[in-house]
Amino acid sequence: MIDILEVRDLRKDFYLKERVGWRKRKRVIPALRGVSFTVRRGEILGIVGESGCGKTTLGKLLVRLLEPSSGDILLKGRRVTAMPQSQFRKYRRIIQMVFQNPYASLNPAMNIQKHFEEVIALTGKVRPQQFQSRIYALLKQVHLQPSVLTQYPHQLSGGECRRVGLARILALEPEILILDEPVASLDISIKGSIIDLLLELQKKKNLTYIWISHDIEVIQRVSHRILVMFAGEIVEIFTPNHESQEHFNHPYTRVLMEAAAKVQRHLGLWTPNPERYERLFESQLPADAPNQCIYQPYCDRFIHAGSPSVCCSVKPPLRHVADQHYVACHFPWNEKARVRSYA
């Protein structure tokens, strides 16, 4: 398979303006601290992590709604970070983004017909006489009735809005879709059908998905590879395996998966374990930690391995441990992986 998208050492800082007494202070808040990965054509790459770990920032950087502080994005082998916005507009056809809130991503004062017309005119491939037939074809792809065309976004249900948004994007015939929590704000009754629709479209058009979500269960079911992020860094990339639970090795991934299983699986069963997650929320994240494992202050494995000094002095690189499996940890849980990482 060919890499359609490559990200090299992407960094993004935000600035917080604070006032201390009379003085103003600018505090750097790193949202992404050097992220590199590749996406292959036709795959679904799931990105999971907690809120504030930089998932959404990453998505917005990929479509250049935000400008990166440093690093490169290579789209089909071409660097798109350096070019000006006007030049990048050509590439926007290729890479498109689906936003979290289905209502907020449509202009509330425009009806659906106008939304479509605008986008189809943008492609420049369709003559004005054929707009209507093109719109009907698009609506058919997402299983919508033509009656929605005369309505305004607030008159539609959340699922319909989501479908309209998808159809609007499909008019541009993109190759990569960045799905930023596509089902998180939908009701549980509609979720399933939207996920089905997304998978169906992916198969039919051979699209590449970057599926950003904090719903680990959905991601595990859907994606080919999963990328786990913590505090703006990638800690693990692995292929989900439904048979065994032991295919991820980073301590943070374990905590995440355990919590997800605990919260979501069963009705009625609960074994409280209050001390388990405390460490995650008490400690403050270091603003910049170039020579330290970012997860070390919260890490079980760190204590379990006898508090080795490597964790506090050397930043673990993202190591290749197996086929399509990378871990950024000095002491991953799987012994075999650890041996390989040192070999």
């Binding site: 907690e50 809120s51 504030g52 249900s157 009701d187 549980i188 009754s189 509609i190 979720k191 399933g192 059908s193 996920i195 089905d196 904090h214 680990i216 959905v218 905590v255 995440l256 919590a259 997800a260 605990k262 919260v263 979501q264 699986r265 069963h266 009705l267 009625g268 069963l269 609960w270 409280p272 374990n273 209050p274 388990r276 997650y277 405390e278 995650l280 929320f281 008490e282």
Partner: protein, 391 residues
Amino acid sequence: MKPLLEVENLTVAIQRQNQLLYPAYRVQFEVEVGEFVGIVGESGSGKTVTILSLLGLENFYPGVIGGQVRFRFRDGEVSILDRLDDFVRFQNGMPHKNVIGWRRSIHRISRNLLGRKVAIILQDSQKTLNPFLKIHQHLREMILHNVETARQPQNPPGRPLSLMSFVRRQQPAFDTPVSPVALDAVQEEAIRLLRRVQFREPMRVMNAYPHELSGGMCQRISIALALATRPEFLVLDEPTTGLDVTLQASLTDLLFEIRQRESMSGIVISHDLPFISRITDRVVVMFSGEIWEIGPVKEIMHPEFPWKHPYTRFLLQSATSHQGARNGVFVPRLEQRKRKGCILRAECPLYRQVKKAAFRKKCDTRWPEFFQVYPRHHIRCWAFENEGSVK
């Protein structure tokens, strides 16, 4: 023993372009002493609106237009909506409400309840804390509330309106001078509360503004604020929505523990069925402003339990396996209550399966009633009319 909270025929309306929609329509349930009741439903089913509007926290027109709400606390009974008729009059079927007078009236009652006897934990706590005050100022206020309520006799709730009432209703400010000894006591109490919600370094948190803390920390602080006055009744409004999984797990732990240790009753509102199933005793299922099923949590949440409303079944299926979509979609909506018959029949799988004319006719023409299928388990559906004999 009489129930602690009784809600009767609570109707909440909202006006949109000369038509009335009902986020809650004739809602009726009760909460026993020491019991937690969960309200489940999708967004737009009216679960939050029901609870907030009966405590005077809603901000739309016309709001509550009918019903009765009664709290029976240890030291007396409080009726909340008993003066509602003075402010609402119906003209051609449309309600006209004197909002300003109503607001003044319900604020007077709810001010003595909210934060004292009834504590509410709203969703998205980071935004519900006052961004201009530090955490210790929040805590201090709530702790001093506790002292006040213990010291002062309660205002009689149904006092008549007077022009000068705005002068009299001023409460003593929470920073009225307190002796140094008492101040120390307040600080100690604050630290105790923060430790209670598992903060390891309470002093560091106390001097922070809400925006300096993470969402999970703010959520726990609002739990501490709710516990500060030792309320008899606790309302949790979607406490886990929008939080990360690890945070959800830790919060569920905390609430589970509080639920076990303190003797409180309460309501939990959520669309997160696993969470509800862990923390409550009874469950109310709501859809488009209506209660469709009330029953013990073990019966409603058990996937094999035979007597189940079709909507509840659908909800359980879609929560556990994402398979619900294929069985028919119940679209949440606000209803005008003008059609005859059951509003769910277009989507109802039971209605579609059964071809018997008599059964269908009832669904088409008559509004379903509650039928008891088990002790304390009621279902609003014509299909359970004959199963009602099981007792």
